[in-house]
Symmetry: C2
Subunit: 504 residues, 2 copies
C-alpha cells in the first residue's frame, strides 16, 4: 500500500464521494439531520451562506422589476386538483393537514381532533394558491404585468433524503408572474434563467449549461421548463435552478382572465421560477476538497480570519493589538460592493485545531499572527483554494487582499470550468456512450462519466433505454445548433441533440 | 347634521375604529384575506414594510451576538408533550399533519393517504424542536452560550382572525438561547426586551412600556415573560414583543445538560423571544389617520415620491428630465445610513388619483412637479404626517430633505407619546376604574379607556373581576417603584401595581 497523504476529510472524494459530501457538511458545521423525518437543521455557518445567496438574488430580482410578497403555507386540496398534470406531479409527496387541535386521547396522551372539512396541503410549490389571487387581481391589461417573488419554505415528502440536495422541507424562492402576451411571458422566463445563470457563474463560481428540459422532465403543468445544469466533482449533473413558461395552463385552470386593449376577455400568460437551499449543496460539491469546504469569496460568510498566536500574557499583549489594528484596516476595505468580512478568532483553543476549523469551514484567507510576524511587520497568509502558505509583508497584503479575493473567485470558476470541459464529450455511438457511463469495476463505483452530448429524438423509448444506465436527459442547450444525423438511441434521423448525465 | 370633512378612509377612526383599520389596509394595498381560512396574503407594499423591520432587527440581533439558523417546520407530537404547561398552552390551536400523500378516493377526487405513525404539528413556536437539538449540542460549559435566531412562519389555529394582528399563519422571528447560569439567561432576556423597545421607539416611532407579565399572561412554560406594550389610537393596548426567561423548565423537560467547570453535570438555562408581522398592525394603528397609512420614514419603503404633472408631450419633455435629475440628486443623499428611497411615478393615471394613492400608502414626502415648478426652480411639497403642502425652492428642499425626514420621524413619536400620556391614569377607586373602561353609550362603543395604573395582588380573583370589563393586566412596569396601599380589586394590602387596559 502506497503512502497516503493525510486529509482533514475521510473518506476522500475518490474513496467515497457521497460519504465525503456528508463529512464536509459535518466538518464545516453547515447542517445536521433533525429528529423529524426528512427535515434538516441548517446551522449558522450553513445559514450564513444561504443568507448571502438570498441577498444577492433578492437584489437581482428587484433590479429586474420584481417585488416580494407572501402567500399562505396551506393550499386547500381542491386548489391543487384544478390543474391535472400539476396535482399528478405532486400528489405522491404532499404533507396533509387534517386536524386543527390536539386533545387527550382515550388511552392517555394526545390525539388529533377538530377534523377539517377540507384537508389542507402544505405547499409543495405555490402556483395554485398564488394563481387564485392573480385571478382576483387581474381584470384589465392595465393590471399587467404582475411580477412577484416569495422567499419561503416548501414541503415535498421525499423518501430518500440527502442534506441540502433533497429534503422533505426546504427553503427556496418562487417567482410568479402574469403577462398580457405570450411573448412577454417567454421573455420573462428567459430573463430569469439568465439571472440564475449569472448568479451561478459570477457568485457561486459554478459554470452552468443553460437549456430546455425535454417533455419527461418538465415541471408538472408547464409548457416549457428551462434549467441551469452544473457538473459536480463526481461528474454528476445537478439541476441548480429552473424557470417555467406555463403558457395559459394555469390561467385556464384558475380563470386568470383580463380585458385586453380591444375590450376582449382573454386568458393571461404565466411563468414561475425557483432556486432553493439545494444551491448550498451545489456549492459544496463544486469547490470543496479533501480538507473540507472551499467557499468562493463572494458568498463566504467571512473573507479573512485572523488567528493570533502567543504563548504567554506578554506575547498576547503585543500580538492582540496588532491583530485588532489589522482587522480594523481590513474592515475599511471593500470587496464586491461591501466591507470585507473579517473575524478575529481569539478563542482559547489549540492553534492547530483552530486553524483546521477554518480550513474545514472554507474561509478564503487565514492570517496566523505571532510575535515573529509582528517583529517583521508581516502576516503569515494561508490561502484556502490553492493551499499556499507564506509570509507576506503586512503593507503588501493590505494593498493586495481585494484583488487576491477576486483572483480566488476567478480561480475557483476556472477550475470548475476545466473539470466540466474535460468531462464533456460528444457521442455518435451507443457502445461508447454506455462505456462512458459504466464504472470500470461495478463493485467499486468510483467517479466516472460526465456530460455526454448526443443526438436524440424526444420519445419515451429513449428515456427507457437511458434508465438502465441511470442516465437522464439533462437539457437541450439553448445555443444548440442543429446537427443533422441519427438518434444515438433509436437510429431515427434527427438534428436535435442534448446533454445526458447521471444526476442528483 | 354638521358639514363633514371628506376623508380618504371611510369610516373614520371616530366612527368605527376596527373597520377603519381594515380600510386603511385595503387603501394602502398592504394585505388581503386569502381563500385559506385564517391566512392572509401580504402584498408588496405591506411586505416591504416587514422587510425593513426585518433588516433592522436582524442587524440588532447580530450586533448583540446572535446568529441565524433554521429548524424544521414540523414538530413530532411527542416533543410538544414533554413540557406540560407548554403543550397545554398550544394544544387547542395546532395544525396537525397526519398523512403524507394524496390518492384517488373511492368516490372520485383525492383523499389523504400514507398515514404517519406519529402525527406532526406545524410549529406554533419552536422551543421543543430547537431544545431537542440543544440537548445534542450542549455537552460542556465551553459550548455555552448558544445564541440563535430563526426567521420563519408559524401556525396557531385562531378562530377569530384579524389581518396582521391575529392570523392562523404568521411570520416572525424567534430567538432561542442557552446559558450556563441563571444570571446570564436573565441578562439575555432583559437585553432582548431592550432591543425590542429600542426598535419600537426609534424605528417604529411607537412609545412602549416595558414590563413583566403576571402569572396568568405568561408564555406557557416560562418562568418570567417580559413584554413591550404600546397604546393604539383607540387607546387599546397591543403587546408588541415578548422575551421569556424559561429557567430550567425546558432544559429539564428536554435534558439540556452540561458539565460545568467543576465537572458537575447540571441543567442549562434557556430563553426565547419573538416579534411578528403583528408589528405591521401596530405600526398602522399607531400613526395612520383618516386619509390612510402614515409611515415613519425609517421603515417607509419609499421616502419620497416624485409626481410629474404635464398636459402634453411638450410639457412632458421638459418636466420629466427635471424630475429625473431631482431623483438622481435625492438618491445621492443618505438617511438612516442608506441612500434615500425615491420613486418617480410616471404612470398614466389622473394626477389627483395618483397623488391620493401615495397619501393612502403613507409615503412621507410627495413632490408634485409641473411646468410652473420648473420655471421657478421649485418643488411642490406635500408632507404626509402634518398634511402641509407648499412650494419650496428646489435647492432649499434638497438641503433640508434629510432633516425633514428626521423631523417627521420625531414628530410621529411625539404624537404617539402624547396620546399615551393623555390616556394613562392612576386609579385608587374601583368605580372610577370601571367608568374609565365603560363606553358612554354601550350601543356605540366609541373610543374610550386607555392605560389604567392601579395597585393589585396577583390572584385569579383579580383577573376574574377584570373579565367583566374585558380588561387585562398588561404588565408590571420594569421601573415600577413599590407604592404601599390596597389592591384596587380585593382591598388586600399590597405595594405592587400594574398597567391595565383593553387589548388586542
Amino acid at each position: 500500500m502506497g503512502k497516503k497523504k493525510r486529509t482533514a476529510i475521510e473518506p476522500t472524494r475518490q474513496e467515497d464521494y457521497p460519504e465525503w459530501y456528508q463529512q464536509v457538511i459535518r466538518a464545516a458545521d453547515l447542517a445536521e439531520v433533525s429528529p423529524v423525518r426528512g427535515c434538516m437543521v441548517i446551522k449558522p455557518w450553513g445559514f450564513a451562506i444561504w443568507e448571502n445567496m438570498q441577498a444577492t438574488l433578492d437584489r437581482m430580482f428587484k433590479e429586474t422589476g420584481h417585488e416580494n410578497a407572501y402567500f399562505p403555507l396551506f393550499i386547500p386540496m381542491s386548489f391543487l386538483e384544478k390543474e391535472a398534470e400539476h396535482v399528478e406531479g405532486f400528489a405522491k409527496e404532499c404533507a396533509v393537514v387534517t386536524h386543527h387541535r390536539l386533545e387527550p386521547g382515550p388511552e392517555g396522551g394526545l390525539v388529533p381532533a377538530g377534523k377539517l372539512e377540507e384537508p389542507l396541503i402544505v405547499r409543495p410549490t405555490s402556483e395554485t394558491i398564488i394563481g387564485a389571487m392573480f385571478a382576483k387581481w387581474v381584470q384589465s391589461y392595465r393590471d399587467l404585468p404582475i411580477l412577484l417573488n416569495q422567499w419561503c419554505n416548501v414541503v415535498r415528502w421525499e423518501m430518500r433524503t440527502r442534506m441540502f440536495l433533497r429534503t422533505a422541507e426546504f427553503l427556496w424562492q418562487e417567482g410568479h408572474t402574469v403577462h398580457a402576451t405570450e411573448a412577454e411571458a417567454r421573455e420573462e422566463t428567459a430573463r430569469m434563467l439568465d439571472v440564475y445563470a449569472t448568479f451561478a457563474e459570477e457568485y457561486m463560481a459554478m459554470p452552468v449549461i443553460r437549456g430546455e428540459k425535454t417533455e419527461g422532465e418538465r415541471f408538472p403543468g408547464a409548457v416549457s421548463t428551462y434549467t441551469i445544469e452544473a457538473m459536480m466533482q463526481d461528474r454528476k449533473a445537478l439541476q441548480a435552478g429552473t424557470s417555467h413558461f406555463l403558457g395559459q395552463n394555469f390561467a385556464k385552470a384558475q380563470e386568470i382572465k383580463f380585458q385586453d386593449q380591444h375590450g376582449q376577455e382573454v386568458y393571461a400568460w404565466t411563468t414561475s421560477w425557483g432556486v432553493s437551499t439545494r444551491l448550498v449543496g451545489a456549492l459544496i460539491m463544486t469547490h470543496s476538497d479533501d480538507d473540507g469546504l472551499v467557499l468562493p469569496p463572494k458568498l463566504a460568510p467571512r473573507h479573512v480570519v485572523i488567528l493570533p498566536i502567543y504563548r504567554n500574557d506578554q506575547e498576547r499583549s503585543e500580538v492582540l493589538p496588532y491583530c485588532e489594528s489589522l482587522r480594523a484596516e481590513l474592515e475599511g476595505l471593500s470587496f464586491d460592493g461591501a466591507p470585507l468580512r473579517v473575524q478575529l478568532d481569539d478563542r482559547d483553543i489549540r492553534g492547530g485545531e483552530k486553524n483546521w476549523q477554518h480550513i474545514k469551514r472554507g474561509v478564503p484567507l487565514r492570517l496566523e499572527i505571532g510575535p515573529k510576524d509582528l517583529a517583521q511587520e508581516a502576516v503569515f497568509l494561508g490561502r484556502r483554494d490553492t493551499g499556499e502558505k507564506r509570509s507576506v509583508p503586512r503593507s503588501e497584503f493590505l494593498a493586495n487582499v481585494v484583488s487576491l479575493l477576486e483572483e480566488i473567485q476567478q480561480n475557483l470558476f476556472a477550475q470548475a470550468l476545466k473539470l466540466q470541459k474535460e468531462h464533456s464529450h460528444w457521442f455518435d455511438d451507443w457502445d461508447a456512450f454506455r462505456a462512458f457511463f459504466t464504472p470500470q469495476n461495478p463493485e467499486r463505483p468510483e467517479i466516472h462519466g460526465g456530460f455526454a452530448m448526443a443526438r436524440f429524438v424526444d420519445t419515451p423509448a429513449v428515456e427507457e433505454k437511458l434508465k438502465e444506465l441511470k442516465v437522464t436527459i439533462r437539457c437541450v442547450p439553448l445555443d444548440a445548433e442543429p446537427k443533422p444525423g441519427k438518434c444515438l438511441f433509436t437510429g431515427e434521423p434527427t438534428d436535435r441533440w442534448a446533454v445526458f448525465a447521471k444526476a442528483y
